[in-house]
Symmetry: C2
Subunit: 351 residues, 2 copies
Amino acid sequence: MNDALQPANSILEREIRQQPEVIARLIAQPQFAQVAAALRAADPRYIVLAARGSSDNAARYAQYLFGIHLGLPVALAAPSISTLYQSPPRYRNAAVIGVSQSGQATDVLQVLRDAAAQGALTIAITNAPDSPMAQQADYHLALHAGLERSIAATKTYTAQLAAFALLTAHLAENSGLFDDLRRLPTFIAHALEIAPVLAARAERFRFMSHCVVLGRGYNYATAFEIALKIKELTYVIAEPYSSADFRHGPKAMIEEDFPVIAIMPDGAALPDMLALVRDLRERRADLTVISANRTALEAAHLPVPMPQGVPEWLSPIVAVVAGQLLALHIAAVKGNALDAPRSLTKITQTR
Amino acid sequence: MNDALQPANSILEREIRQQPEVIARLIAQPQFAQVAAALRAADPRYIVLAARGSSDNAARYAQYLFGIHLGLPVALAAPSISTLYQSPPRYRNAAVIGVSQSGQATDVLQVLRDAAAQGALTIAITNAPDSPMAQQADYHLALHAGLERSIAATKTYTAQLAAFALLTAHLAENSGLFDDLRRLPTFIAHALEIAPVLAARAERFRFMSHCVVLGRGYNYATAFEIALKIKELTYVIAEPYSSADFRHGPKAMIEEDFPVIAIMPDGAALPDMLALVRDLRERRADLTVISANRTALEAAHLPVPMPQGVPEWLSPIVAVVAGQLLALHIAAVKGNALDAPRSLTKITQTR
């Protein structure tokens, strides 16, 4: 293998490995209490989240966090309503949060501007305090992840999730949630220990041309993000689904040896995922299972064990690490450039 | 070919052909004015839409309709927040609309129940007036589509879109929108005339194993629905994207001969779609283009011309017909059962 294509020489692997320290740094930031206080004072009826790409997957996670812990409904913005149709919705009694690693997403910025012009509370979550989004919003939550140089987002994605989790803990004023958060860097460090297993087994995916990635509830977001990493890095078609949506039609695609990656942390979504995986096993699908649950792992052709004891609400920040490593090692096996996938640039401008 | 697999003998084709009359019947219904009045009186800050499968794609269309014509933000519900996590969000100042062909979706019904218990206005859109959802909601909008016997939804999908369009026209009190709606059955009838072309050319997809389906703005929903029809009927992996999201990572998958289906009606989303299609053409992707625009059609390996003069806001109800026919004929070429795809049932229960 060309040295440049070795995972160990890639910026991507380095950034994946930085995640425990990035998250530890983020949860020590004092800014979240202040933003939570502003949100509490605004008492929004619902939250609008605007984002693209990986940041949109972080927004998907926030929909579950805010719904389950805070009873707050979340609308994922369709930015083109503002940018293409010039008809920004009325954000009465809403708070609007824009998410972007670079803080430069033009369409997301437009949503923040529309909301501000209407007097709605606006918050930006970015890794770039000098960026237009950070400057535009009433409040900026900085990710402090350090410069992300690899095109595929990894540490800024988990930092975005952790930022939403921290904001939730502050809004819920629940000390149990803070206890959970303090254990998060260690959980991520344990998840990284699976790397040698994935490096050794990634060759089995050498000729994979497509797969589906399944997750549910909190880990619906993880299915989307792992599928995105696989597409970006391995160029393999990877379709994300919730186990519920999957039964509404797409299940018809499954035949013998169809590759399925299932994200199955312990928690409320596990029984439904187990039922689906049992069904897929009977249809002789090829199963990769990311889980701490023994029954789930035993059903897999490639079991990817995760650390024990991760609370379900934080499991997306741990489980995605396995998917990042899986995508990295499949890309290496396929001989793809790891830090700069074809056709992509770090900052994508869309309107 | 086995007679049972002939498109002309299928219930599916019959139901696709019924669409002009189904839509003509629906737009003559008086019930929409009353529901619009109730919604206007409630003056919701935002709308929550709950649905699964094809109905969820109809909800995606409604997000653009309500946003652009009414300035009303839309949140697509995550039903598992209620069903798996038993933490229904607080629907303060919201109106909640549940959409289901059968009216029997347990998880969507639960969202309607939660909303009603909190005093929010609830509306059900179904094809089954005696169904639990129709009975539960404050208001029921019946689709009057006649029994849908084929497992793949076609006429109930376009009827759901038309129901949202009608509701929008009543809420906007805009006579121009009603003029547009009256021409809709004729537009759909013209779109059906493409059937012989698709029947003749479908063999080119005999060995297609995967594709992406691209649409934007109003037709983001169409991309999802055509991809779903392809998955259900042809068992081919079909991934839907907006042209914007596609540039944020998935574009890396595109290589020579990668099959792309682009939905490109005239309107605000066309320039962005044209730019993307030009780029994909340079990368030598295989292009199927559903459009009335000559430049768009000329870029295609398989041009699928649509009727001229369709207003963009109604184009999803016309363009999807081409996708239904395409999926039908590819399924026939592959020798698949047309009315009862493998692994699926007409009513899917998820929680």
